[in-house]
Every structure is written in C-alpha cells, then in structure tokens.
C-alpha cells in the first residue's frame, strides 16, 4: 500500500470487502453512495440511469475489491469505475456539450432573497457541459486534489487546472445569463 490506512478512510472497509465481508461492503456503500450518486447526478442527470449505474458500480467494486492496488484513494478508484460506466451511458457528444449549445436560455428575473437560491444554482449548473459539471464536482464537492482528479480523468494535472478554470468561467457565465452577478453571492 502506498499510504497509511489512516489517510484513506475507506481502505480498511475495502480490504474487508475483498475478504468477503458483506457487512463491511454494506458500510462502504452507506458511506460512499451519496457522494458517488451526486457525482453521477452531475455527470449523467437522468435519475433512472443513475440508479442503474450505481448498482453496476458497486457490483464492480465488490468483484474487483481484491484487485485494488492502492495507486489512488478508494473513493477515487470507485468514482473512476462509476465514471467509466456513466460515459458509456451518456456518450461522447453529450459529455462535451457546452454552455454555448444552449442559446435558448435567456436571462431570468430571479430574486435570490426569496429562497430559491438552490434552484438557481441547479439551473445554472445544468447549463454547463457534463465535462464542466464533472470537474467542478470533483474539485469543489468531492474535494479531491488535482492529482486525484487527473488520475480519474486520465489527463495531466495542468489540464485539470485549466479545465477547472474554464468550468468556473462557464458557471459564472451561466449565472450571469440568469441575471445573477456572482459577486452578489
């Protein structure tokens, strides 16, 4: 193993899973499924599809737990599995769609004080390409290091940095299209 177990909270659970411990697998599922679901939600969007991918992801985690080599954190490895399955589902074209592909979205008068902030943010995120939503999720929700993100996406760290920059810019543009100045947030 490349790192002490204390740095990876799920390593011990995965090791027990590899030994055939179904209880450990259930705990691993409980502790990670929401994060993976959120990731899939950002990448795929379709709820039914997400459930199917989740089932397949954890099935593969169970089957391949003994083959985990510790080259990344357990969660990173699991997200990588989920990602491969999700990309098969959404296809390459949709993955690279951009905010420019949604010219029909016009500015909307939204009052941030009325409590529909989350709705606004969700709509703004939905304007982004899956590629940009994905990188924002990995960097700012999953809180993964650029090195870990690079491992999942199989791209250089410098590309991760650039993609994060453009994803943030796209999110800013999306918010502005909805009449929201990001400085006011």
């Amino acid at each position: 193993m490349n790192r002490p177990a204390t740095l990876d909270p799920f390593l011990s659970l995965l090791e027990q899973t590899a030994g055939g411990d179904r209880d450990a697998f259930a705990i691993l599922y409980q502790e990670t499924s929401q994060r993976i679901k959120v990731y899939l939600h950002r990448l795929v969007g379709d709820q039914n599809c997400i459930d199917d991918i989740l089932v397949e992801t954890y099935t593969q985690v169970w089957k391949n737990s003994a083959a985990f080599k510790g080259k990344s954190k357990v969660l990173t490895w699991m997200i990588g599995i989920a990602r491969n399955l999700a990309l098969k589902e959404i296809g390459k074209k949709r993955y690279h769609e951009d905010i420019a592909d949604h010219p029909e979205i016009e500015a909307a008068e939204i009052d941030l004080e009325t409590g529909d902030r989350k709705e606004v943010f969700s709509r703004a995120l939905n304007l982004l390409s899956p590629k940009h939503r994905e990188i924002l999720d990995l960097a700012f929700y999953q809180d993964l290091a650029y090195r870990e993100i690079a491992h999942i996406l199989d791209i250089p760290e410098s590309t991760v940095k650039t993609r994060v920059f453009y994803a943030k810019a796209a999110l800013k543009t999306a918010l502005e299209r909805m009449g929201i100045n990001s400085d006011d947030l």
Partner: protein
C-alpha cells in the same frame, strides 16, 4: 513563463468565479439530491450473490504465465520510456545483425581470370553458356578441355575462351566436344 503572462493569468483568475463561491454552489445543490433508495442496495446484493472476492486487497488476482507476459507487454506500452527503450534495443540488435552478417551473393559471374591453366596460346572461341549451367559444371568443363576465360561476359552473355589443345585433342575434336556439351548453347571460333 514570463512575468506579464503570470500577471495576465492572475488577472483572469481574479475575474473568474472564486473557488469559495464554486464550492458553496456545488455543496448547496448536492443537498437537494436525494439519497439512494434503500431498495437499491437490495439490487446490488442480488447482483453479488456469486462467490466472494478472493485474496488480499493489495494482491492482484493470479494469472497464467502467458497472461502475465501479455499484461507485461500491454503495460510496457502504457509507459512510453520503456516502449521506446525496447524499440531502441531492437534497432541496435538489427544494426549489429546486419553489420556482422557475411556478405554472400546469390549468384556468381564468371570472370576472365577464374581458371588459370597457363593457356597463353591456342584457339579462341566465343561461347554462350546455357542459362541453367552451374558454375561448378562450367569450371569442370573448362578444366577438362584446358580452357580459360579470357574475356566476358559481354552484354549478350558471350564469353571469350582460349583453349590449349593437347596432342590427343585437336581443335576439331575440341569443338565437337564443346558443341555436344549441354552446358553450351552457342560456340564459334574467333579469328
């Protein structure tokens, strides 16, 4: 990177959405995503009814030697330095092989001084050998008839051969012998 480029990047970053805001948006929106339905785990359990995974989590599953070799080759292509190293070694081995290989022609051309029998005087003939005649057979014929190639082959494959007849083999006999030889398709005395 130049200082101005750094400044430019910094300026761009300042104009962009700040990371704290991005983090806030991502976390707020995640709260609205409902957790997976409990029935989902039942589906997963259903799909993992097979035998449990084996071995230590850090040990890759055992593979056959052939599979291991194939994996090693595949992995080498994922590491460009190793792949290029293999290519370089192959190139060096190939060069050494070519350099050390003996130079061997696939055919020989008879030359004027191949057979030296001291035939400095005697009748001269123009000869064309049969295309399937072998070098050894021609040399044996020349030795038998005391002949020596003194010129050729020309553009049409004509050799000039000088013979040194012995008392027992006159020029006439010699000509008959040569004409009857299956190795010769044309022979004519040169004057």
């Amino acid at each position: 990177m130049s200082k101005s480029e750094n400044l430019s990047d910094t300026a761009k970053e300042q104009e962009n959405l700040d990371s704290a805001t991005a983090r806030h948006i991502l976390q707020q929106t995640a709260e609205d995503i409902p957790p997976a339905h409990p029935a989902l785990f039942a589906r997963i359990e259903e799909s993992i009814k097979e035998p449990t995974p084996v071995g230590n989590a850090h040990q890759p599953p055992s593979v056959s030697p052939v599979q291991a070799l194939l994996n090693m080759i595949r992995n080498s292509f994922r590491r460009p330095q190793l792949a290029w190293g293999i290519v370089a070694v192959q190139a060096i081995v190939l060069c050494l092989f070519i350099a050390s290989a003996p130079i061997k022609n696939t055919y020989h051309t008879l030359s004027a001084n191949r057979t030296d029998i001291g035939a400095q005087a005697g009748p001269i003939f123009y000869v064309i050998f049969h295309e399937n005649a072998r070098l050894r057979e021609i040399e044996q014929l020349l030795a038998r008839t005391n002949g020596a190639i003194i010129n050729g082959p020309g553009k049409r494959g004509i050799y000039t051969i000088r013979f040194h007849p012995t008392p027992s083999a006159t020029v006439k006999k010699l000509l008959t012998t040569l004409k009857n030889s299956s190795l010769i398709t044309f022979i004519e005395r040169a004057y």
